[in-house]
């Protein structure tokens, strides 16, 4: 009730704002999220809870000082690549619907001003947001997680959290990266584009079929994902070594170090063109994956990395400098030479 009253006062432009601020702890304003839900959020937001790993990364990039915890606590190897202030925040678990690992009481106890989720927008997540919001009384904002939507997502969250300027800078950088990729790729004839296989798992036999969120970035950079899916929007798949030979990828991108180090010695992989031509690359993953894990804003630097890896003659600028700039701007950490070398170790 008092919320509505003070909002009316606000909208009427009554200059008693200072007094009202003393009487009511927080002004409320309404925000429309990516699902079209109208959410009433406090004017000043100091503590934000992220519902899953992609949201966690988005929040870290936009406003690390407002984080209440992690979905999964950072590992030792990842900590040097994160701001000192957030390295030891608690692990809180995730909200997924029926079987959350997050306890709602703990969520309330963490006293967030707002909950955000970044990812698929469908009825499941819409109703989950409505339920949690009704049950805990904490505003719950859904942000569209499609890769193409990255710049808008950065702007939306920054705007809600009251750091509009930072959002504008980050969104601009994201748009510049997409534009750079498009410019380079447009100059490469379709039949000259690399045919890429994404090798996941220690045997490299787990992959993502065309259209899956895991390989989205490969297609975004103009390459052909050799794994054809059963359906339009693919998912993770298991493939046989024989199948990989039949796919004949000229480039293999892997997320697994043990596969990367052992692939040259595996007889089954010897006939694969990418292995013969020594075009197997290990995607960096500190503190967040370059290709996915999670599929969030961290993939922006993955795009730059893929551009340099797949089109070394055409990609503009120096990769190391671009990685350093990205980490400075997005993750707010300075990479020294050894940190940078460790990050890009094996990346070609």
């Amino acid at each position: 009730m008092s919320m509505t009253v003070s909002r009316r006062l606000f909208m009427a432009g009554v200059t008693l704002a200072a007094l009202a601020l003393l009487a009511v702890p927080a002004f409320a304003r309404t925000v429309t999220d990516s699902a079209g839900r109208t959410v009433e959020v406090p004017d000043t937001i100091a503590r934000v809870f992220a519902a899953g790993p992609p949201a966690s990364t988005l929040l870290y990039v936009v406003a690390p000082e407002k984080m209440t915890g992690w979905v999964r606590a950072p590992r030792e190897a990842e900590k040097p690549y994160l701001q000192p202030a957030v390295r030891d925040l608690p692990e809180l678990g995730r909200l997924t619907g029926r079987g959350d690992t997050l306890n709602l009481e703990r969520l309330v106890a963490a006293k967030p001003d707002i909950i955000i989720d970044f990812g698929t927008i469908n009825d499941t997540y819409r109703s989950l947001a409505d339920r949690v919001q009704a049950q805990t009384g904490i505003p719950y904002l859904l942000i569209d997680g499609r890769f193409e939507n990255t710049a808008s997502a950065l702007r939306l969250l920054a705007d809600v959290l009251g750091v509009k300027d930072r959002g504008e800078v980050l969104a601009g950088a994201a748009e510049a990266i997409f534009k750079q990729v498009d410019t380079v790729v447009a100059a490469v004839p379709t039949d000259k584009r690399p045919r890429v296989y994404l090798a996941r798992g220690p045997e490299g036999l787990e992959s993502g079929s065309r259209g899956s969120i895991n390989t989205e970035i490969i297609e975004r950079v103009g390459a052909v994902n050799v794994v054809e899916g059963l359906r339009e929007k693919g998912g993770l798949v298991n493939v046989s070594a024989e199948q990989v030979i039949a796919f004949a990828p000229d480039t293999v991108i892997t997320l697994d170090r043990s596969f990367f180090e052992g692939v040259a010695g595996k007889p089954a992989w010897a006939p694969v063109p990418a292995v013969t031509n020594k075009r197997v690359f290990l995607a960096p993953g500190l503190p967040f994956g370059f290709i996915d894990s999670p599929p969030s804003v961290n993939r922006l630097i993955g795009l730059t990395w893929l551009l340099h890896t797949l089109y070394p003659d055409k990609a503009p600028g120096d990769l190391k400098a671009q990685v350093r700039d990205f980490y400075k701007l997005f993750y707010q950490v300075d990479l020294d030479d050894s940190a940078l070398a460790r990050l890009l170790d094996g990346a070609g």
Partner: protein, 338 residues
């Protein structure tokens, strides 16, 4: 039969234990509310007064619905387990014998894959469980006229395995970052997302399912003597069997829809009841219901406050239930069997 206490003496004790466990559980949780504040909040709620903001939310929106849901889930699974064990005259039978949980799991994961609202996912879970048992019963009937209990169980295994395979397929097709964790956690069983409305929606279904079991408890007990003896005593075996299967399926499917798949409770609790009051079904059923409710409330309290993140219920019931079951069997080998 040794040491089997008389039911009238045991029931009030079990009711008191259940109430005690529920009250203690209401005071425990990651959000600390001192006991006097819990009592004060309940009192204020009773007279219609409001409580300080977080206490009202935590107690009445989150914790009490979970305690009630846990009691409901435990009572339902134990009742279904007791009924099935008597019906099949086999102490190793659990509520999932005819594939209810697997079918419910399939319904729910399809709902998650299709991106349906949470309520629709629950409804699909409920429907999937019921549908599975109807398919099993129809299959058994087509094969052997429905009279043979062995054919019924084998049909249950086959249909359950098919549903399990379909769940695996859905997992492969699901988005690994959002849907797959949801599916995995759902199948492990949890009450983390329970809302007051879920309890209100499930309670009547469970009552409707348990009522015929309680009303027919003497006749169901006679079934465990064997079909011929039961017929000689004037029991219409196949109709009674159909009623028991329907009732047990209904309650299992309805609680699986709000809690996900939770193993062990339905298998183990009837054995605990049997040790306490003896193998007679008319005594064992009420005891199972009360023990199951208290057990589940205690386990869920551990699940939500034992670690920083939620421990899946299915994991806890197996870890606690497995060793406890072995100990029960070792202690009362003879009376543990029906």
């Amino acid at each position: 039969m040794r040491n089997a206490a008389a039911l009238p003496a045991v029931l009030p004790i079990l009711v008191a234990v259940l109430l005690g466990v529920a009250i203690i559980a209401s005071g425990i949780g990651p959000y600390r509310i001192p006991p006097q504040d819990v009592v004060a909040a309940l009192a204020r709620r009773l007279v219609g007064a409001a409580n300080p903001a977080p206490i009202d939310t935590v107690l009445f929106q989150i914790r009490l619905p979970r305690v009630l849901a846990a009691a409901l889930v435990g009572a339902a699974l134990a009742a279904a387990g007791a009924a099935y064990q008597s019906l099949f005259r086999n102490p190793l039978v659990s509520p999932d014998i005819l594939g209810v949980s697997t079918g419910a799991g399939l319904g729910a994961v399809v709902g998650i894959l299709l991106g349906l609202p949470v309520a629709a996912i629950q409804f699909l879970g409920f429907g999937g469980g019921l549908a599975t048992v109807f398919i099993v019963a129809a299959l058994a009937k087509a094969l052997r006229g429905g009279g043979d209990i062995l054919v019924l169980v084998l049909a249950g295994i086959v249909v359950g395995a098919l549903a399990g395979a379909a769940i695996s397929l859905v997992k492969v097709l699901a988005d690994p970052y959002e849907q797959l964790p949801a599916i995995t956690f759902w199948l492990l069983g949890s009450l983390a997302g329970v809302k007051p409305g879920d309890v209100a929606a499930t309670l009547p279904v469970v009552v409707i399912g348990i009522a015929p079991l309680l009303l027919l408890r003497w006749r169901i007990g006679v079934l465990s003597l064997g079909d011929d003896e039961a017929r000689a005593l004037g029991v219409e075996v196949s109709r009674l069997r159909a009623i028991v299967i329907l009732a047990a399926t209904l309650i299992t499917a309805s609680v699986v829809a709000i809690s996900g798949v939770i193993g062990w409770v339905g298998l183990m609790v009837p054995h605990m009841a049997r040790l306490l009051v003896g193998p007679r079904f008319d005594r064992m059923l009420p005891a199972s219901i009360l023990i199951g409710a208290a057990f589940m409330v205690a386990v869920d309290t551990l699940a939500r406050s034992g670690a920083r993140i939620e421990i899946p219920l299915g994991v806890l019931t197996a870890v606690i239930g497995g060793p406890l079951f072995v100990w029960l069997l070792a202690r009362g080998r003879r009376s543990a069997l029906p």
